[in-house]
Subunit: 344 residues, 2 copies
């Protein structure tokens, strides 16, 4: 019998980079940004329970439990409810604390797009072999352009056919550095997708971030069940320092592997990224809802339940959600937080 992998889906993010559609209880992962299915449902469907995968563990906040259940429908899942946001290290520690030591955990954000699922599955198979050799495995996205919005990972020594030892992690770089890394090769984008044996991660956490793991472990032990959901204990979980799994573990551990993969990945981290991935008309406009366009090109127009008329515009985002209307150049969409902050 093949070892089944345990998907762990990180669903705790709120995300204001796609404001106004993403906000409050309607976080980005629950929106159908690239079609009829939400990003969360696409994520769940990518590792279906069956021969290769166990039913997923969903890590989410209290505010999202109802939405998670609604979007899971009849499909089996175990919910692990974070009483408050404590970043990815503590969230993953909750899943690790609850798992058998031999279980392989596949940690995935819930709000990414992966166009080539067979390529993802092939990478998981490679990663699983490395994880069983006690590597902490990260999946690296083969860069397509010198993006300054991602961290980079440099590959070191080859580990057979499966991947490479990680040489180093690189923070989000200036453009010149990004261009240099793209030209040099051997660098991947850090996509925040991980695979490891639970016991191996437990040991790593006890070495590198003991306070986080111990708080999560106690929060699970003192947690309360409500049907398929385990609510971690708030007073205990609150003691966990807030840190990312990258900082808390991956960048500190000596045995971290990378499996590079080209799989049509996008984190949809901005309206520009949504525009890039969406279907376009011949003039490069990506529209949804009731949109009238005249002499306009390269725009992202999302009309919500309103009627948007655009004349003579190029390269702008018009995003309508309820009574909120956002208008900005796509090239400026990193600044959307200014509006989100003012409005929420």
């Amino acid at each position: 019998m093949t070892l089944q992998i345990q998907p762990v889906i990180l669903c705790g993010g709120a995300g204001t980079r796609l404001w106004p559609e993403s906000r409050g209880t309607r976080a980005k992962q629950f929106l159908p940004l690239t079609g009829s299915e939400s990003l969360f449902r696409q994520t769940v469907a990518r590792t279906p329970a069956g021969e290769h995968f166990l039913p997923p563990i969903i890590l989410c906040g209290d505010a999202h439990v109802a939405t998670v259940r609604e979007q899971m429908g009849p499909h089996e899942a175990a919910l692990l409810v974070e009483p408050m946001p404590r970043n990815t290290a503590a969230a993953i520690a909750l899943a690790v604390a609850r798992a058998d030591a031999v279980t392989l955990l596949l940690v995935m954000p819930s709000d990414h797009v992966i166009a080539d699922v067979p390529a993802f599955h092939a990478a998981i198979a490679k990663g699983a072999r490395l994880a069983q050799q006690d590597w902490l495995v990260t999946f690296g996205i083969t860069p397509t352009h010198p993006d300054t919005g991602f961290g980079y990972i440099a590959s070191g020594a080859a580990l057979g056919e499966e991947g490479f030892a990680v040489e180093r992690f690189v923070e989000k770089p200036p453009l010149a550095d990004a261009e240099r890394m793209l030209a040099a090769g051997g660098y991947s984008w850090n996509a925040g997708i991980f695979l490891f044996r639970a016991g191996r991660m437990r040991d790593a956490m006890l070495t590198h971030c003991r306070a986080i793991f111990e708080a999560a472990d106690r929060a699970v032990a003192a947690g309360m069940y409500d049907g398929d959901a385990l609510y971690a204990d708030a007073p205990e979980f609150e003691k966990a320092p807030s840190d990312s799994i990258d900082y808390a573990v991956m960048e500190k551990d000596a045995r971290v592997a990378i499996v590079p993969v080209a799989m049509g990945w996008s984190d949809l981290g901005s309206w520009q990224a949504v525009h890039a991935l969406a279907a376009h008309d011949p003039a490069g406009n990506a529209v949804s809802g009731d949109v009238f366009l005249h002499d306009s090109s390269g725009n992202l127009i999302r009309a919500g339940d309103k009627r948007v008329s655009v004349i003579g515009m190029e390269g702008v985002a018009v995003v309508v959600d309820g009574d909120d209307i956002l208008v900005m150049p796509l090239a400026r969409c990193q600044d959307v937080r200014a509006a989100a902050k003012a409005r929420e």
Copy 2:
């Protein structure tokens, strides 16, 4: 006793140039585009009933009767209801048909802005003296820039201190011609404001556009009263050819005078014109409603009852009305009809 002047306010226009705010029964003239008062109410207030002016005659379509009454409030007015739109010559003919021959009629559009009302009154006084000498008087706006959106009027021989005989009317000119006329001087914009003795206009119409006047005359005779409103008879009025007063009378008559006047006039004929006239922040943004602006300049943002957030935009109009949202460069606002046509 001074001769009182009879204001005649043309309120029949629908106007799609300020779509989406101006449309259907909520025509441009009824909107508070430049402050808290609608353009119609500003027009009425400009010639208040009293020493110099009689209560106004309001020419409007059936669809606008309720709005006219509501906006008049307790103020006296006589409504003359056009059963169908037949352009300005037929509308003015209705007022002429109903008036005593000696009455001075001051015909005004209901959707213009005049900042300097004393200058307007001074011009009316001059025009009244010419009208009593049987001139058909038009008021010409002293041009401030080589606008290609207006017709021009060339002044000829001086008529005392009061004004000039009209030498000729010039259609909306190409830019080079507009620049030439501005440089030459002696040209005014045709603002569609007229003053004449009713009997004099009746004679002119019988000479230049008999079919229009006779149809209007019969439509008044066969009309029905409803309180303060006279509904012109539809079968009779329908026979009136549709023509503008400029084409039908003014450009054909030999005794037309112009009184040039600089009075802060605007026809608010586009969102660009509304932007030009509105109050601006230091960055040149004119906003109304709930608007958040970040790093943006020279925009016109009208949020209606929604919330508009604008980041990094320059020189665009964002106009919200109900469920309609219009986004376009201010410089392209002549194209708004494309959206209005598609949407209405």
